[in-house]
Amino acid sequence: MNTTTGAVALRITDTEPLLSLENVTLRYGQGPTAVTAVEGVSVHLTAGDRLVLLGPSGCGKSSLLRAVGGFQPVDAGTIRLRGSPVGKPGPDRMAVFQEFDQLLPWRTVLGNVRYALQRGRGLDRATADARARDWIGRVGLARVMDAHPHTLSGGMKQRVAIARAFALEPDLLLMDEPFAALDALTRRQMQDELLSLCEQTGATVLFVTHAIDEAVRVGTHVLTLSPHPGRMKGLAAIPPAARQRGTAAFAQLEAALQAGLLGEDNSAAEERRHG
C-alpha cells in the first residue's frame, strides 16, 4: 500500500491521466477556527478507472468529490481534468447524490433526463428525447417514463439520476453515496446494475462510500482515507475476480480493507494522545 507522499497513479500508463489530484487540501471556515477536511491528497485516474473513496464519516471523502465537481473551492493543490484545472460545476462531471431530491420535481422522468441532455449537451429536443428514452429503458424504468418523481420509490429516483448522469456521457461520473439511503436488497441490486453499466460504457467513476462491501463490488481501486483531517491511508486495486460477492477473494479483500481502516483509526488516535 502507498503512503501519503507523492502522487499515486492507479495504473502505470503512457497516456495523460484523465483526472489528477495533486496535494489537494480542503478547509471549512477561515482563520483560527478553520477546520481542515482533507489534506494532501494526490491521485491520478486513467479513463475507465473506478476509484472508490472509502472511509468513516469525517474523512472528507464527500468534500473531495464536491471539490472535483466544482461545488467547493480547493484551498491548496490542484485538480485537473484532461490537463486543465476544474472550474465551476459542468456536465463534463455529472454527479449522482445520496439524497432523493436531486431530480426536478416539476419534470417527468423523461423530462428530467431530456432537459439535462438539452441544457448540458446542447442537443435538440428530438435527439435528446431519443437518447433519454434509451437510457431510461437501460435502467429499467421505461414504464414510468411519464411519471413525476414524487410518485417513484427511492430506488427508482436514484435510477433516474443514474440514467441522467450516464446519458450525458460525462468525462467523469461523481457518485456520492448514491445507494446509502436505500434498503439492503435494493442497494445490492443497484450496485450490480451500476457495475454492468460501467462495464458496458467504460465510464470513469469517482465513487464515495463508507460501506466496504460496496467499495469492493463497484470499484476497480479503493483509496482509504483516515478522518480528522482526511488523509490518504492506502490504495488497493481490486482484481476482477474479487468483485464477485460470496467468493473467498471478495471476503478477503473486505476483511483487509476493514482491518486497514480500523488499524489506522487506532494508531492515529494513539499519535494524537502522545503527540
Partner: protein
C-alpha cells in the same frame, strides 16, 4: 377500460361531497343572519339576508354593481401587475447577488410592516386624487409579501437540487428561470395569494377614503355612498360582492393553479 369506468367518477364525487357540507354551513349562517335581523327589526343597522340578496340582485341587474366591481378589478389588476413586476425584478436581483439579497432583506424589513393605506397621503401628494394613487398603494401592498415569499422559496430550495441544477452548467438567468423559480413555486404561489388578499383590502380601504372620482368610483366607493344615504342593504350587498369576487379568484385562479402545478408535482400536498 373497466378500470376507467370505476375510477373516473371517484374524484368529482368527493369534491361534490365536500362542497355539499360547506353549502349546509352557509345555509345555517344565512338562516342565523335572517333570524337575528328579523328579531332586531332595524333595516338601518342590519338588513335581513333576503333584503341583502335582493339588493345584490338588483345591483347586478341595474349594472351598477357590475360597473363598480369592474372599476375596482381594473385598478386591482393594474396595481397587482406592477407589484409583481417589481417583486420579480427585486427577487431575481436578490437571487443572483449578495448585494441584491441584502437590499431585499433591508427593504422588506422596513416596508413590509408599513400598511399600504398609510402611504395614501403621500400618494395623494405625488399623484393627486385618482387611479395612479390607488395603483401606487396597491403596488406597495403586493410587492413586499410577494418578494418576501419568493425569496424565502429560493432559500428553502434543497441543497442537492441546487447542486444538480448547477451541474448542468446553466447560465445564471437560465438557472433562475428554469430551476430556482419552479423549485420555489409553492412559496411563490402562497405569496401571490397573500398579495392578492392584501391588494384587495388596500383597494377597498383606499376607495372608502376618497374613491377614484364620484362618478367612476369602485366598489369601496359604492359602499361609502350607500352608507351615507342609509341604504344599508346596498352596503351589505357591496360587502357580499367583495366576498364573492374573493371566493371566485381563490377557487378558480389560485386553487386550480396549485392543482395544475405544485400539487401535481408533489411539492405541496
Amino acid at each position: 377500460m373497466a378500470d376507467a369506468t370505476i375510477t373516473l367518477p371517484a374524484t368529482p364525487r368527493r369534491l361534490h361531497l365536500a362542497g355539499w357540507r360547506k353549502g349546509v354551513l352557509l345555509l345555517i349562517l344565512a338562516a342565523v343572519w335572517e333570524g337575528y335581523a328579523r328579531h332586531l327589526d332595524n333595516a338601518l343597522l342590519l338588513p335581513t339576508f333576503s333584503a341583502t340578496v335582493a339588493a345584490l340582485v338588483q345591483g347586478f341587474a341595474s349594472g351598477e354593481l357590475v360597473a363598480r366591481t369592474a372599476t375596482s378589478l381594473q385598478l386591482l389588476v393594474t396595481g397587482y401587475a406592477c407589484g409583481l413586476v417589481a417583486a420579480a425584478a427585486l427577487t431575481a436581483f436578490a437571487a443572483l447577488s449578495r448585494w441584491g439579497a441584502e437590499l431585499l432583506e433591508l427593504l422588506t424589513a422596513m416596508l413590509n410592516p408599513l400598511p399600504a393605506v398609510a402611504l395614501l397621503p403621500i400618494a395623494l401628494l405625488w399623484f393627486g386624487i385618482g387611479a395612479p394613487s390607488l395603483v401606487f398603494v396597491i403596488t406597495h401592498a403586493v410587492l413586499w409579501p410577494v418578494a418576501l415569499a419568493s425569496y424565502a422559496g429560493f432559500r428553502a430550495m434543497p441543497r442537492t437540487l441546487r447542486m444538480a441544477g448547477r451541474n448542468l452548467g446553466l447560465s445564471p438567468l437560465r438557472f433562475v428561470a428554469e430551476i430556482l423559480i419552479p423549485a420555489a413555486l409553492p412559496q411563490i404561489l402562497a405569496g401571490l395569494r397573500l398579495g392578492w388578499a392584501f391588494a384587495w383590502r388596500t383597494l377597498i380601504a383606499a376607495e372608502l377614503v376618497f374613491g377614484v372620482s364620484a362618478r367612476s368610483g369602485g366598489i369601496g366607493w359604492f359602499i361609502y355612498t350607500n352608507r351615507a344615504q342609509l341604504e344599508t342593504a346596498n352596503v351589505f350587498a357591496g360587502l357580499l360582492t367583495i366576498i364573492l369576487v374573493g371566493l371566485i379568484v381563490e377557487t378558480l385562479l389560485f386553487r386550480s393553479a396549485a392543482r395544475a402545478t405544485v400539487q401535481r408535482w408533489g411539492q405541496e400536498q
